[in-house]
Amino acid sequence: MARMLEKAQVSLPSDTQVRVIRDFKAPRALVWQAHTEPELIRRWMLGPPGWSMPVCEMDVRPGGKYRWRWRSDETGAEFGFFGDFREVDAPAKLVHAEHYDPGDVGGAMDASQPTIIQTLFTETAGITSLEMIMTFASKEIRDAAVSTGMTDGMEMGYERLENLLSGLN
């Protein structure tokens, strides 16, 4: 029996790509719904701690547009992503182009060149495997995107940080 991947794994298949894989205890039709229906997306597509997701619009069909925005509860500052769907093959494959919307937050990412995000959903014995491959316009944009995520990840990862820092002394 295959072992379930209960924690996300991240790798760098090339200089401009990031690959994230993760398994879920749910049929893939449901995991697909959670990736395509706005009222479900905003329940898990978390922004930084203390940010909510007031805008989540999805028109899931080839050429259809989407728009996501997060807002800081404290300052009201906003940022987000928008783009369009390039390939929609429910419930197996979703490809979308993503532009960064710096809003009031700013950021170095160049919004003129989209990131192409391919998400594959496969199901084995009731377990859905998710594979997301993000292809950025350049290595610099990829590195900036990964660094932005790092800031948020640190909010959660103090126990990991302790391991990381134990070699510092």
């Binding site: 993760r22 205890k25 909010e155 990991r160």
Partner: protein, 118 residues
């Protein structure tokens, strides 16, 4: 500093979101105080104060160039690349843990049954 004091200083340094954002920026390469102040809505003296805390914790150091004194990241023992990617992994894991919860709820309540809430 004793190892414990060092760890305390490091955690205190990391307890502030601006300082974590500065570290994330420096993970991409060295930068001057002016360059670091740019993305934040705070003054250069305020940035300098944050940098002093990070320096004291040994997380960053100041470069040789007397004019710019560029700051760079220091001493991530697992290697910057690993730490950098681990932070990103945790960013996604936080979302996917929330998705696990949502999928559990959706399966406990079949979507076809009428909502009882009012």
């Amino acid at each position: 500093m004793t190892p414990d004091e060092r760890l305390d200083a490091t955690f205190a340094a990391l307890a502030d979101p601006t300082r974590r954002a500065i570290l994330a920026r420096l993970a991409l390469g060295e930068a001057s105080v002016a360059e670091l102040a740019l993305p934040f809505n705070i003054s250069q003296p305020a940035i300098s104060k944050h940098l002093k805390v990070l320096e004291r914790a040994g997380l960053i150091s100041a470069g040789q160039d007397a004019q710019r004194r560029p700051r760079k990241i220091e001493g991530l023992p697992l290697g910057e690349a690993t730490a950098w990617l681990e932070g990103y992994r945790q960013f996604w894991e936080r979302r996917y843990a929330a998705l696990d919860g949502l999928l559990g709820q959706l399966q406990a309540k079949p979507p076809k049954s009428p909502r009882k809430r009012h």
